[in-house]
């Protein structure tokens, strides 16, 4: 109100200098436009909304793939009610853990593997994560994937082509599916049974990437001639073979290579082994002056704002990520019998995403700002086949969300689990070779470098063996507080009189996680091994597109009941265990655990039941309660 007393021009100046405010306004307006379109299309007058607690948990899980800590809850509540939700969304989108929320989205779509056909794919995975974190515009990212060239060190995005082992028809098929929502794979072998596409059209479409070759053995002969591998030790030989295996992978366009119709082509519109000319079967034909530039031209066509499918597919994917269900399903099969719910809303989303130039974070912020995002979850199965405007589906946490959430209970700062410092000398050396290229000089160098890598491995093993034998160092300050504590206890035997600060145990040295398999979900090799928690909980094996699922299985239940994570790591000496030990009375302990695990306060009757149990089981009560809470359906599902 005070503002209104100022002259108008000062207000305008104030507003235009305050770009953050202007940005917030734009986001708000866009969100409102979506809400209004949805209400109109769904014949509703307003949206119901969820409590702060439910919003907090739902949004943490959705954006950074884990539940909030107690401290994070407190920080959230501290903000004034009118801005706390907006501030939360902005904070999470800007956080480093945003990567945890988006990486599965991409990895599932790209079938990203850490080991692509025997070649280290970490560089490719890293490229995806960096692109996510830097908020690379979506169209640019897709363009870079389709037009990738060189070796993994020069352009890690070539992983896109390595994935299908150079099988161009497969790559073309997956490109059409994931970015354009068109499942034309059947047409590899025959005219499509249900849709209009013919086999010839599929080949014409594929021929845009038809000149791609993925490996080049040019240097291998030279290297093998010059390196006498019989003088290697067995381990050095292994390392050498690993390096040699990775070197040939080099994606480039070979001008003499042409895609031809198959030898058994049976339709009248072409001849077996006939060279196909590039042609797309919908939208405008890409302009091509030089037949040798076709990949860039194709990439541009796929990612163009004019392409009728490109934006439609991604906005629906992002909508599904945020709201739980797409406006059309399945999200990558848009065909003549697809039913789109609320088509005006879909069009609006396309328009918005293009207007903001495919800025993913901004688009997500808009979606998270809508009132529709904040509607309650349905109690039962969603009744209607049509997209429900007033309710969202109750979904189980994805594998990555369960894992990261449980991990977050074990340490104060979960990011200590990320970027394990295990050096990868073989991959790094291979990358160095790939970047430098091959000369006589580094041919000699290969010999020495491989020996060096092997020697370093031996040294490292010896160091670790020494460390394991050495007596454990006791931190002086922790020793002191323990001593004080014992002394005080012995004298007074009344814990309540000791000031809490003196009692506090020192946070133990963070143990360097040697095993990547125990790290944050996005850092675990993809796919996870078949006995890993992530695999058991339905993480995509990255063998087919979008294979991740949240289906119930018995091994999952056994893992929660008896697995190491829920019976060892969380219960014994975890961060929350230490925290709950500092709380004095049982009632508060129960509240703390409910807050941290279920993001809410216990009801009176729940508290009563829990108290009764704790009084009866004084030794294991707290651990049992922790175990129980992570085994509830309430924990596993997202309200």
């Amino acid at each position: 109100m005070r503002l209104l007393k100022l002259p108008l021009f000062i207000i305008v100046v104030f507003l235009s200098f305050n770009s953050l405010q202007a940005n917030d306004d734009i986001i708000k307006k866009l969100a409102e436009s979506i809400d209004n379109a949805l209400l109109k299309s769904g014949n509703a007058s307003h949206f119901a909304t969820i409590s702060d607690e439910i919003f907090l948990r739902r949004t943490y899980l959705n954006i950074i793939s884990r539940i909030p800590t107690n401290d994070e809850f407190k920080a959230f509540i501290k903000n004034p009610p009118t801005t706390r939700r907006k501030k939360l969304v902005q904070k999470l989108l800007a956080s480093e853990e945003y990567r945890e929320g988006m990486y599965p989205f991409w990895a599932d779509m790209l079938r990203l593997q850490s080991n692509i056909n025997g070649v280290y794919g970490d560089k490719y995975a890293q490229w995806v994560k960096t692109s996510i974190q830097n908020n690379k515009p979506y169209d640019q990212m897709v363009y870079e994937l389709i037009s990738a060239k060189g070796n993994l060190a020069q352009d890690p995005a070539i992983g896109y082509y390595l994935r299908d082992n150079g099988n161009i028809l497969e790559t073309a098929s997956t490109t059409a599916q994931i970015f354009l929502g068109m499942q034309i794979g059947c047409a590899q072998c025959h005219d499509h049974a249900f849709e209009e596409w013919t086999q010839k059209q599929f080949y014409e479409f594929s021929s845009y990437i038809g000149k791609v070759s993925i490996s080049d053995n040019k240097y291998i002969g030279d290297i093998r001639k010059n390196i006498k591998s019989e003088f290697f030790t067995p381990r050095e030989k292994q390392i050498f073979e690993q390096v040699m295996n990775a070197i040939p992978f080099n994606v480039k366009d070979v001008n003499t290579k042409e895609l031809k119709l198959p030898a058994n082509y049976k339709y009248k519109n072409g001849k077996p082994n006939e060279v196909v000319k590039p042609h797309v079967f919908f939208g405008n034909q890409p302009e091509m002056t030089n037949l040798n530039e076709r990949r860039e031209v194709f990439a541009k066509w796929v990612t163009s704002k004019e392409n009728p499918q490109f934006t439609k597919i991604i906005v629906n994917r992002l909508w599904k990520k945020v709201m739980g269900l797409g406006l059309f399903e399945p999200i990558d099969d848009y065909n003549s019998s697809t039913h789109v719910n609320h088509p005006e809303v879909l069009s609006l989303l396309e328009k918005i995403f293009q207007e903001i130039n495919f800025d993913t974070k901004k688009f997500l912020e808009v979606l998270y700002t809508t009132n529709h995002y904040q509607v309650p979850t349905s109690f039962g199965d969603l009744q209607s086949k049509n997209y429900c405007v007033q309710e969202r589906p109750l979904l189980r946490m994805r594998a990555e969300q369960v894992w990261n959430s449980l991990l977050s209970l074990t340490r104060k700062n979960i990011n200590e689990y990320y970027s394990i410092d295990t050096p990868r000398p073989i991959e790094d050396y291979t990358a160095k070779l790939q970047l430098e290229g091959f000369t006589d000089a580094n041919l000699i160098d290969i010999w020495a470098s491989i020996k060096q890598i092997a020697d370093n491995e031996i040294l490292l093993k010896e160091e670790e063996a020494k460390k394991a034998k050495a007596p454990k160092k006791i931190d002086a300050s922790s020793y002191m507080s323990q001593k004080e504590k014992t002394k005080e206890l012995a004298n007074k035997n009344q814990m309540a009189e000791i000031p809490k600060t003196q009692m506090m145990p020192v946070e133990p040295e963070p143990t360097k996680l040697k095993d990547r398999l125990q790290g944050l979900a996005s850092d675990i090799p993809s796919p996870a091994p078949s006995n890993h928690f992530l695999y058991v909980f339905g993480q995509s094996s990255r063998m087919i597109i979008e294979q991740g699922n949240q289906d119930p299985t018995i091994p999952q239940v056994l893992t929660l009941l008896n697995g190491q994570l829920t019976t060892q790591f969380i219960l014994k000496n975890s961060y929350i265990k230490r925290q709950v030990n500092q709380v004095q009375n049982n009632s508060e302990k129960i509240e703390y655990l409910y807050q941290v695990i279920l993001t809410r306060k216990p009801t009176d009757s729940e508290k009563e039941i829990a108290l009764k149990y704790l009084n009866k089981n004084t030794k294991t009560g707290i651990e049992d309660l922790m175990w129980v809470l992570v085994n509830t359906r309430e924990f596993l599902f997202i309200k």
Binding site: F379, S530, I544, V557, T603, V628, N631, T632
Partner: protein, 422 residues
């Protein structure tokens, strides 16, 4: 071209079969696909399957198709078997049992890559980026009645990654890393008694009651059911089947105490308890270098374990209804390379079958003198898988559509190897 895939209805199928069109030339009659749904005069020849997969490409010349006297012979001599056929000398125990087994020496394929070859063997289809085909075990367990209430009908021992594919998680195999470890996470952690565990479960039911009664969504309900089932499984007597210590020392020695021997022993125990399909994987067969030393060691292990399994199954009167298959993704080059090894060779290779209707003593197919080409009775991977499916009572020509609408048949144009059933 027809728009809809032709799906055989049961009535159609029976009609065609009786008119001889489908059954032409086939000595085994097709049993009903839904064996548990209908009275049928057709019976499957095997109630159980033990599928032993040698990962990496097992050399055929150094196992079941030796070439004495040829330049491709290598370092091993032969030993004559109980049926007059000769196999590699490293299999003395198996040689005595050759009239119980059938050997196929004319396997032939075009897949020379490990990943593709293994995928083809397990699913009977070539890999595609957009679909995952179910493994044969999933086909069989999906369409036959389980013989045990508590134990999973499909178990993989030794790390096989193949699974239910588009059939969904309900038909996913139980994965066991190794035979000694048992089902993962099945035991209550140390320090908790059964009594205490049940009390904890009780607390869980009480505290989750609000949520469970309010949220009736079907996946929530499924989990509720599984929590009850897991409970049952954990305290079930059936779990003892995983503890190999329950076997005598004599029995342990019959199989040999190698990891693979343990796997085979566990497979017998599981089959005894009614498990339908057990796969045991054994790796390390990719002998590009030092082929003969490696084969000498591995063959001894396999010879012991396989023979132990066959003898044991026979003694327990299980062999006639348990089909044992030992196979690999391809063979190895008859020509020995410069590192005293053999390289990938899908052109000709061998596998072995026994029990479950298989006529012992049969040799299917032949390769030439050097072992580098099939000259009689070629058998494709599709033929092998079709044969196994038929032994389970499945109709290999029945067409199914995957969730995206693609049609599939188990046979993928493979034909039953009739002669193997006698």
């Amino acid at each position: 071209m027809s728009n809809k895939p032709f799906i055989l209805s049961r009535r159609n199928f029976l009609k065609i079969a009786s008119s001889g069109l489908m059954g032409a030339g086939l000595q085994i009659q097709f049993p009903s696909l839904f064996a548990n749904e209908e009275n049928t005069p057709y019976k499957p020849s095997a109630e159980h399957f033990i599928y032993l997969f040698m990962n990496g490409g097992m050399s055929h010349i150094d196992t079941f198709d030796p070439k004495p006297g040829a330049d491709t012979q290598g370092e091993f001599k032969t030993i004559k078997g109980s049926n007059g056929h000769s196999i590699c000398e490293n299999f003395p125990n198996l040689a005595k049992l050759l009239d119980e087994v059938a050997i196929i020496n004319s396997m032939t394929s075009k897949e020379g890559s490990h990943e593709r070859g293994q995928y083809l063997f397990h699913t009977n289809y070539a890999p595609l980026g957009t679909i995952v085909h179910p493994t044969l075990g999933s086909w069989i367990t999906k369409f036959t009645k389980p013989l045990n209430d508590t134990l999973p009908p499909l178990i993989h021992i030794g790390g096989s990654r193949f699974g239910a594919g588009y059939f969904g998680p309900k038909f996913e195999p139980f994965h066991l890393g190794n035979a000694s470890s048992g089902l993962p996470n099945i035991k209550i952690p140390n320090g908790t008694t059964e009594e205490q565990f049940k009390e904890k479960l009780n607390l869980l039911e009480q505290l989750d009651n609000n949520f469970q009664s309010k949220y009736t969504e079907s996946n929530v309900q499924a989990y509720n059911e599984y929590y009850k089932d897991a409970n049952k499984l954990m305290f079930s007597e059936d779990l003892k089947v995983f503890d190999l210590k329950n076997e005598s020392e004599e029995m342990r020695n019959l199989y040999g105490k190698s990891e693979f021997g343990n796997g085979c022993l566990l497979a017998r125990r599981l089959v005894e308890k009614g498990v339908k399909y057990v796969e045991v994987t054994n790796g390390g067969w990719d002998t590009h270098e030092n082929n003969f030393e490696i084969m000498r060691n591995k063959s001894t292990t396999i010879d012991q374990a396989l023979s132990g399994l066959l003898i044991d199954l026979k003694n327990k009167n299980l062999l006639h209804k348990t089909m044992v298959i030992l196979t690999t993704e391809f063979g190895r080059t008859p020509k020995i390379n410069s590192k005293n090894g053999r390289d990938h060779f899908p052109n000709a290779f061998s596998c072995l079958m026994a029990g479950g209707g298989v006529k012992g003593g049969t040799i299917i197919g032949k390769t030439n003198e050097r072992g580098d080409a099939v000259i009689e009775e070629p058998v494709s991977i599709f033929d092998l898988n079709t044969t196994i499916a038929v032994a389970a009572g499945l109709n290999p020509e029945k067409e199914f559509t995957s969730p995206v609408g693609r049609p599939f048949k188990i046979s993928n144009s493979g034909k039953v190897i009739n002669r193997i059933f006698g």
